[in-house]
């Protein structure tokens, strides 16, 4: 990237530059800037209206009481104080962490195992057949998948409980149980995100040089040993990306699943921060309070991302 950037002006110089004085070149810069403005114009306008301004305006709103209909009223830090004083806040934070960890950790492990299995499934046609099945959840939206899983989780007529009964266990009222609602949402989320993560891992596996495995096979290393000592360490850049991506995916995308399956219930058992922000903003019209919550989430995610980048030095191997 750096090299190419440096190359362009020198090439331009070589082609036209020798005979031109500085004034002409500045005129050329000015012309290039105009062209760039033309090409970047649509992006720039949309960026200013729908990203730059909202980021500033959101922070401003978090110091106000605002319900869209009546004029905003300045309340200082009250929204932030209210958030930390609110008795449901610890519950929501606990749920958010539970949901994130519960979905992210299996999403870093299971898809890797499946990607390796798919790679070793046999002839390319066989692999293609299995992949078609494993990637199928790609076609469903979060809403469609949640609608089907809600029906799978149903207490009396759901397929999952019927299976559990056949195994001789007590059925569970999944989505209406304080203990089981969150695991139910998490299992469905892992299922939904599986194809994306398998694809990312499959792409990552292709980056590992074949000769490493061949050398290990010549030394008589078992399949398990090859997996542990070659695949696992060399795939860590992908593992890191999958983890980060899944975390952002569930933290910001969990809304669809939760709104269809549980609406944050029962008794806030699946109420996570993004869902609470949505409810406060668009059902109770507490725009200022919800903006403060969104900024707290922003800070939290920012710190978490930085922490991750720091920690990755300890376990991610770059070739």
């Amino acid at each position: 990237m750096q090299m190419t950037t440096a190359k362009t002006p020198s090439t331009a110089l070589r082609l036209f530059g020798l005979r031109r004085d500085k004034r002409v070149r500045q005129k050329k810069d000015w012309k290039a800037a105009l062209w760039a403005l033309l090409f970047l114009g649509p992006n720039l306008v949309l960026f200013l209206i729908f990203t730059a301004w909202p980021v500033v305006y959101g922070l401003y709103l978090s110091f106000f009481k605002y319900n869209v209909l009546t004029p905003a009223k300045y309340v200082g830090l009250k929204n932030y104080r209210d958030f930390f004083d609110n008795p449901t806040t610890p519950v929501i934070i606990k749920n958010t962490l539970y949901y994130a960890a519960g979905a992210v950790i299996p999403s870093m492990v299971l898809p890797l195992l499946i990607a390796v299995l798919l790679n070793n499934a046999g002839r390319p046609t066989t692999t293609r057949f299995w992949r078609a099945i494993y990637f199928l959840p790609l076609v469903t939206s979060g809403v469609a998948a949640a609608a089907v899983w809600k029906w799978l989780y149903a207490k009396d007529f759901g397929l999952i409980n019927s299976f559990i009964r056949q195994l001789g266990f007590q059925p569970v009222d999944w989505l209406f149980s304080l203990d089981w609602a969150m695991p139910a949402v998490i299992i469905m989320t892992i299922w939904l995100l599986m194809p994306f993560n398998i694809i990312l891992y499959t792409a990552g596996l292709q980056e590992i040089p074949r000769d490493y495995y061949e050398a290990a096979q010549l030394d008589g290393a078992s399949t398990w040993n090859q997996f542990r000592n070659i695949t696992v360490p060399l795939i860590t850049p992908t593992t890191f990306f999958v983890g980060l991506n899944t975390m952002l995916g569930v933290l910001f995308g969990g809304f669809d699943t939760i709104n269809v399956m549980t609406q944050g219930g029962p008794l806030n058992a699946t109420n996570i921060l993004i869902y609470d922000i949505y409810q406060n903003a668009f059902q109770y019209f507490k725009m200022g309070y919800a903006s403060a919550q969104a900024y707290i989430l922003f800070v939290f995610v920012f710190c978490f991302t930085i922490l991750n980048w720091v920690l990755q030095r300890k376990w991610v191997h770059y070739a």
Binding site: W191, A203, G220, L251
Partner: protein
């Protein structure tokens, strides 16, 4: 677990090279066992992947008495094809049109702006290019929840609530990743081509339109498919902007059907199946591009 015996064999092979044939036999047996195990694991996983779809299809052809039968049955009897007609009428053809229009507009506009932006960052040498690019890229780090509320207020102030532009343009604005992707691709195109074009007097627009875009077909296809997929599934933003029945998109209609307890299960599942159908066709026709598009998104890491 299954590799334990092979490990022993391997050790033996290492210390006593003469025992090789024996080791190989053990390896073969181990490999056969391994094959069976891989197959078993793949079958279980495949079942977990397929059961929700099969159960959806099965229920979609049942009436309520069959859906709420105990124990549950897989094969509907009688088969109610009419559920699909009812589902289509209940979701409403207009809703399918809205979703298609929403998704296609986003693919087209975001694709055009992202390729233009990518071209500027890759091929036009303007002052402060890299600084501007990094700032633009940095905005990808901002959680959508932060901009959600103020963006909604902007849309209210513009009078765009319950309009197509209100649904579409804020999503088109989230083009930073596409811009990044196309920039990376355009930078790898051969410099000589652009030099030749410049010598022929082709301006930037003609360089962009005449050969940069045609040469980028694979990236364009993968990008379009992934963007279409994302837009077709989008729920939260349309839910916030849409007020009337006529402006709804498919995920909103599905969520409403699913939330309505009095609704027939069969018809709800038929509606879900209908909502999946266009993507399923696209998936079967272009599976390779789905995979490529998603693998491409891994590049940002």
């Amino acid at each position: 677990m299954p590799s334990a015996p092979r490990m022993v064999d391997a050790d033996a092979g290492e210390t006593e090279p003469l025992e090789r044939p024996k080791t190989k036999e053990g390896g073969l047996l181990g490999r056969l066992g391994m094959k069976g195990l891989i197959l078993a694991a793949l079958l279980v996983g495949a079942a977990i992947n397929l059961v929700p779809f099969l159960w959806m299809l099965s229920t979609s052809l049942k009436d309520n008495t069959q859906a709420f039968a105990y124990p549950p049955t897989w094969i509907p009897d009688p088969i109610l094809w009419h559920n699909y007609v009812d589902a289509f009428n209940r979701v409403n053809g207009r809703v399918f049109f809205n979703t298609a229009f929403f998704a296609v507009s986003i693919v087209f506009l975001q694709g055009l702006f992202a390729t233009m932006g990518g071209f500027a960052f890759a091929r036009i040498n303007f002052p402060y290019r890299n600084v501007i690019f990094l700032i633009y890229l940095g905005t990808m780090m901002i959680p959508p929840q932060v901009t959600l509320i103020p963006t909604y207020i902007v849309v209210v102030k513009l009078g765009w609530v319950n309009t197509y532009q209100g649904m579409i343009l804020p999503i088109v604005a989230q083009g930073a990743f596409g811009t990044f992707l196309f920039r990376q691709f355009f930078m790898r195109l051969p410099e000589e081509m652009f030099e030749a074009a410049r010598l022929d007097g082709a301006n930037y627009w003609r360089q962009f339109w005449n050969f940069t875009l045609p040469l980028s077909r694979p990236v364009l296809v993968a990008y379009s498919i992934i963007t279409f997929l994302t837009a077709w599934k989008m729920y939260l933003w349309p839910l916030i902007v849409v007020r009337s029945q006529e402006m709804k998109v498919v995920p909103i209609a599905i969520a409403e059907l699913s939330g309505n307890a009095s609704q027939d299960r069969g018809i709800t599942m038929a509606a879900v199946a209908l909502s999946i159908l266009p993507i399923l066709i696209l998936y079967l026709a272009a599976q390779r591009w789905f995979v490529e598009g998603i693998a491409m998104s891994g590049q940002k890491g």
